[in-house]
């Protein structure tokens, strides 16, 4: 590991940007996962499939219909919101009526079934061919030795905007406040007339939309194919554990942290070994600080 390479600003900035871009994706996925867990108590294993459907949405809107980047992201977000709403109403709500104590495990297994179905329907419907778009946005800007592509800037900017919009929605709109209330005390929310079933549906939809947006944004790195969701879901769970389950700011911090660590790992180690790094880090976190790096000490799982 030749650390002196980091002294080169071109390499350093490249790594930082790579890390930030990956981090943005992880953050979006992690927020969605944490949201779904925090409000519905569901560990959504099909989250990677929402990502996958987002990549296909971007591909079809952009490559086939020729619409710009932004349109693809919007299509993915809206489309996946609808998918999320349907899934919550059709599968999760019925399970909630039936399940009792074992909700966490039962819903987890249900989402595993959903993952298998979505993945294989995609395989049947779209085939296993990878459909990628190498560059969404052309051009780059140069500062001295450092080159930053517009694409990367666009991805980061859009990710920040999406997170910002979400934060504003949650903080300032009525439904957003109802969502926060439901997350903190669902029974109390009910006594104030809030229909928590509707809140669950909206929250799940938002979580799915975020994953879809992540897939759309990162089409140039993750092309569309049926099993593309696996690495992202593995990483999102890692992010959520780093940040603490249900802790949304933690998910953002965890996402960027993981992104940057991975960028460095890819650079200094062979591509194969960097895929061992993430599980190892998570195992260490689970052993020594299971509540996550960014959660207060007291909250032990």
């Amino acid at each position: 590991m030749d650390l002196s390479l980091l002294a080169d600003p071109a390499i350093l900035s490249e790594l930082v940007f790579q890390g930030l871009v990956r981090g943005a994706m992880y953050a979006l996925m992690g927020i969605g996962l944490s949201l779904i867990f925090g409000i519905l108590g569901v560990v959504n294993f099909a989250h990677g499939e929402f990502f996958m459907l987002g990549t296909y949405a971007m591909y079809f809107v952009s490559a086939l219909l020729g619409l710009p980047f932004l349109a693809g992201v919007a299509a993915a977000a809206i489309g996946l919101f609808v998918v999320g709403v349907v899934v919550e109403r059709a599968l999760i709500e019925p399970l909630r009526q039936r399940a009792g104590r074992d909700w966490l495990l039962d819903s987890f297994v249900l989402t595993i079934g959903l993952m298998v179905i979505l993945q294989n329907l995609a395989l049947l419907g779209f085939g296993s061919r990878r459909r990628g778009i190498t560059t969404m946005v052309e051009g780059s800007v140069v500062f001295g030795n450092v080159t930053i592509t517009y694409e990367r800037l666009a991805i980061l900017a859009l990710a920040v905007i999406i997170v910002g919009l979400l934060a504003a929605y949650i903080k300032f709109t009525d439904t957003g406040k109802a969502i926060r209330a439901t997350a903190q005390d669902p029974e109390a929310a009910q006594t104030l007339g809030i229909d928590i079933k509707r809140i669950y549906t909206v929250a799940f939809g938002i979580g799915a939309a975020l994953a879809g947006a992540a897939g759309a944004l990162l089409i140039s790195i993750f092309p569309a194919f049926p099993t593309v969701g696996y690495q992202p879901v593995l990483k999102s769970f890692a992010v959520v554990i780093l940040g603490g389950l249900g802790n949304i700011p933690g998910a953002i911090a965890g996402g960027f942290l993981l992104g940057i660590v991975e960028a460095y790992a890819i650079f200094f180690m062979s591509a194969g070994w960097q895929s061992v790094i993430t599980p190892l880090i998570i195992i260490l976190v689970l052993v020594f600080r299971p509540q996550g790096l960014f959660t207060a000490q007291g909250e032990r799982p």
């Binding site: 209330a181 009910q190 104030l192």
Partner: protein
């Protein structure tokens, strides 16, 4: 007329009913207190009235209208508010946001919300002072104050109070009951369930005793004030 419970049978599972045919009338503007030993079903009765549990037999009426089977989130619209047992503030939201959520069902009516805020802040200046603080940072008594204030934001007719003084220090228990007395003056119809028999009977107009899921005695407050020790001895 207000609240009427008729022959209600309900429980958490079909096979094990906790309430085995309970009757209750809570008249307009009066404080009706429900007392009884542990496990008598007092809280279960409130939860059944509020729709958390569905009675397998019997009915519940509010102002003549049957509310059996309605979901909890529809109760406030019917004019019935519920103070949950234990803490129920939203800890990571501000006092103001908590109150705002109290007015959730008419959130569109900004004028009405403004008026509700003015009333609450006039009555509870301390809450106005702390309005930007997160509710979780308030003291136990202040949180209870917030919960009571939030309860009244929509101007409900009937209040169900589930163990309002449990877990609080004696000084706060007095404070809570002072507030309940004020609510009584404001002509709310109030149903109180409390382990603290002494305190609750003090402000009661009418008392129901529940035991093992059934009505035991009931009557106006003055009949109970003196016989209290005898009644409690029956439970032991």
């Amino acid at each position: 007329m207000s609240l009427k419970v008729e022959g209600v049978v309900s429980g958490y599972t079909r096979e094990v009913p906790i309430l085995k045919g309970v009757d209750l009338i809570a008249r307009d503007g009066l404080v009706t207190v429900i007392i009884g030993p542990n496990g008598a079903g007092k809280s279960t009765l409130l939860r059944t009235i509020y729709g958390y549990l569905h009675p397998s037999r019997g009915d519940v009426f509010h102002d003549g209208k049957s509310i059996k089977g309605l979901a909890p989130e529809h109760m406030l619209g019917e004019g019935i508010a519920y103070l949950l047992q234990g803490h129920s503030v939203f800890p990571r939201m501000s006092v103001e946001e908590n109150l705002e959520l109290g007015g959730w069902i008419f959130k569109r009516d900004r004028a009405r919300l403004r008026r509700a805020f003015d009333e609450v802040y006039a009555r509870f200046p301390r809450l106005k002072e702390h309005r930007r603080l997160n509710a979780g940072a308030l003291s136990g008594g202040e949180q209870r104050m917030l919960e009571i204030a939030r309860l009244t934001m929509t101007g409900p007719k009937t209040l169900l109070l589930d163990e309002p003084s449990v877990g609080l220090m004696p000084k706060l228990v007095d404070f809570v009951y002072e507030e309940i007395a004020k609510l009584k003056q404001d002509e709310f119809t109030i149903v109180v369930v409390d382990q603290n028999v002494k305190k609750s009977i003090e402000i009661a107009d009418y008392v129901y005793v529940l035991n093992l899921g059934e009505n035991s005695h009931h009557g106006p407050q003055h009949e109970f004030a003196l016989r209290l020790e005898d009644i409690i001895r029956e439970w032991l």
